[in-house]
């Protein structure tokens, strides 16, 4: 499916802000295409299901998070159309969450491979994934203080731990 068709389909089904980024490479100037789609939180799960209409197993890469002060944007990077030369299109789906209500539905029921990424965003940014069963720490230690999020740009950032890593743990001593 080419990008124009995907954009058309998204516009038919969703209220979305779509941006197409193109970049050409090499002597033959072969173009790669990336879609950035910003949608409403309520539509998010429906959008992921919509990706399954394009491909049986859409490839999920990662969730990236950006702290805008009052709100946090989660950007889910998907791609569809693997297996043929220059056939793959990146589709990045952005959802903005206000900081006082950091909740979004999990996609692990549809794409089990998203588990690590959701656990990472949960511990690093503090987003609650509704329906995510395994919310243990993945990259932070099990005794990490609650309510501290290393990837935020606000008061929840653990600045007191910065540059003092050698003090956070010592041999034979419990913090």
């Amino acid at each position: 499916m080419n990008v124009e068709d995907i954009v058309k389909k998204i516009k038919e089904n969703f209220e979305a802000d779509i941006k197409v980024q193109r970049k050409s490479h090499g002597v033959k100037k072969i173009e790669e295409e990336t879609l950035f789609v910003r949608i409403k939180r309520e539509d998010f799960k429906k959008f992921v299901k919509f990706l399954f209409e394009i491909e049986k197993y859409p490839h999920f890469s990662i969730i990236s998070a950006t702290d805008f002060g009052e709100e946090i944007e989660l950007l889910y990077h998907f791609s569809v159309g693997y297996g043929s030369f220059n056939g793959e299109k990146m589709i990045s789906v952005g959802v903005t969450l206000p900081k006082n209500d950091l909740k979004i539905e999990t996609i692990t029921d549809l794409i089990p491979g998203a588990l690590v990424s959701e656990r990472e965003i949960h511990e690093m940014v503090g987003v609650e994934f509704i329906g995510l069963k395994d919310t243990r720490h993945m990259f932070l230690p099990p005794d990490w203080p609650e309510g501290k999020y290393p990837w935020r740009r606000d008061e929840t950032f653990p600045s007191e731990m910065l540059n003092k890593l050698y003090e956070t743990w010592k041999e034979g001593e419990k913090k």
Partner: protein
């Protein structure tokens, strides 16, 4: 025996001498449950890029995400920034990037093949493969000035040219590897013991590979033709038209086991040799950098506003960087690194389930895990609750014993 035990393996990794914890639930020798824990070498690289460094400093920081993939991470990151700031890359630079990335693939796959041989107890093969790998390391040093951190990437191009002498040396090196390839193939793919230890061990089905979003040789060995160089071409790969390698090219069938992962990686070494030879023959002339003046480049990036995604097929699979730039701010506003091992950790669970403890090292090693890629945020922690610790040496011993047993019985 109906009773089951939980055995923590790690934090030091049994296969690649890197820190990760596996919790295995075993009944006798059979593995019936697997859980994975990371978090021992988080270094906060993204945080530094978002708060302290200017973008040019971040190139060299991103090289240090991983000691092995130190072309693909900076390449991925500069591509993301080039898209965000709309910088055009000269054609010659794209060809040099391709050659550098393929040299990295050769050295990484040979390194992996040596480690895999070591894990099943063939230390002579391990030393032989690593001795072969020295040639490509010398080539890398000759072309970039360094064996490990090559410092060759820059926004809008590369920092060093490949001149006539370099091209000559590269051609000689590729000839050397083509000659040796037959021998490597014979050692790894036709040896009956290696086949016994790896055939139908650590199977990842096509379905699981797709559902768990596995990447790189791990997913290709399960018959999924996912390769960023083919699907989403960057640098000069679009001109070459790479084809993803799946094991059925070699022997007409896909098992999705450790043996297939060896097949895919070895064939990719051959493919890399071909790509390098092709790139040398077709290299266009022209400038290397879009903007030579670093101060001007830095100012341009400071003024730029936008976002971009860089995607690269690293030796271990798809590597992806997301970068967002905000006008007036020097560090990245947002930077996310996703190294291939990140997606290849969950597939360990179906691979290990039902297997034996003696197979853990080779199965874990078969995905070519890279823990420093996986963990990037600094945290100091040592897990204290380990009463039944299986050390890496003990596992290695078990693995070697199994190979010896198979060799005896096989004869």
């Amino acid at each position: 025996m109906s009773e089951t035990y939980t055995i923590p393996v790690g934090p030091l990794h049994p296969a690649l001498h890197e820190p990760i914890t596996l919790k295995l639930e075993v009944s006798g020798e059979k593995i019936i449950g697997v859980d994975v824990f990371c978090s021992q070498v988080h270094r906060g690289i993204e945080w530094i890029g978002m708060n302290r460094n200017n973008p040019i400093q971040s190139i060299y920081l991103s090289e240090r995400v991983c000691g092995i993939c130190n072309i693909c991470h900076p390449l991925c990151m500069v591509q993301a920034v080039e898209k965000a700031a709309e910088i055009e890359v000269p054609e010659r630079a794209e060809y040099i990037r391709t050659i550098a990335a393929e040299l990295e693939r050769i050295h990484s796959h040979l390194l992996w093949a040596g480690v895999a041989a070591h894990e099943i107890g063939f230390d002579t093969v391990f030393h032989y493969t690593w001795a072969l790998r020295e040639n490509v390391m010398d080539l890398i040093e000759y072309l970039t000035g360094n064996r490990v951190t090559k410092a060759i990437m820059m926004f809008g191009g590369v920092r060093r040219d490949i001149k006539e002498n370099g091209a000559k040396k590269l051609r000689e090196g590729m000839k050397f590897y083509l000659e040796k390839f037959r021998k490597i193939e014979e050692i790894f793919l036709q040896d009956p013991t290696i086949k016994m230890r790896t055939r139908d061990v650590g199977i990842l089905t096509r379905e699981d590979a797709l559902k768990l979003c596995a990447v790189g040789p791990t997913t290709r060995a399960s018959g999924v033709p996912k390769d960023v160089r083919q699907d989403f071409p960057y640098a000069a790969y679009g001109d070459y038209e790479v084809k993803a390698i799946t094991p059925d090219i070699y022997n007409g069938e896909v098992h999705g086991d450790v043996y297939d992962r060896i097949v895919v990686r070895l064939l990719e070494v051959k493919q890399s040799i071909e790509i390098i030879n092709w790139a040398l023959d077709n290299m266009p002339s022209g400038p290397l950098l879009a903007e030579k003046n670093l101060v001007r480049l830095k100012m341009k990036l400071k003024k730029a506003e936008g976002e971009g995604i860089g995607r690269v097929e690293a030796p271990r699979g798809e590597d992806i960087h997301y970068v967002r730039l905000k006008a007036g701010e020097e560090p990245f506003f947002s930077w996310k690194i996703r190294a291939p091992t990140y997606n290849n950790v969950l597939p360990w669970i179906p691979m290990l389930l039902g297997g034996q403890i003696a197979d853990v090292p080779i199965v874990a090693a078969s995905t070519d895990p890279c823990m420093s890629c996986l963990n990037r945020v600094t945290v100091v922690d040592v897990e204290k609750k380990k009463e039944f610790q299986i050390t890496k040496e003990y596992m290695h011993k078990l693995s070697v014993k199994k190979t010896r047993r198979l060799m005896r019985n096989g004869r």
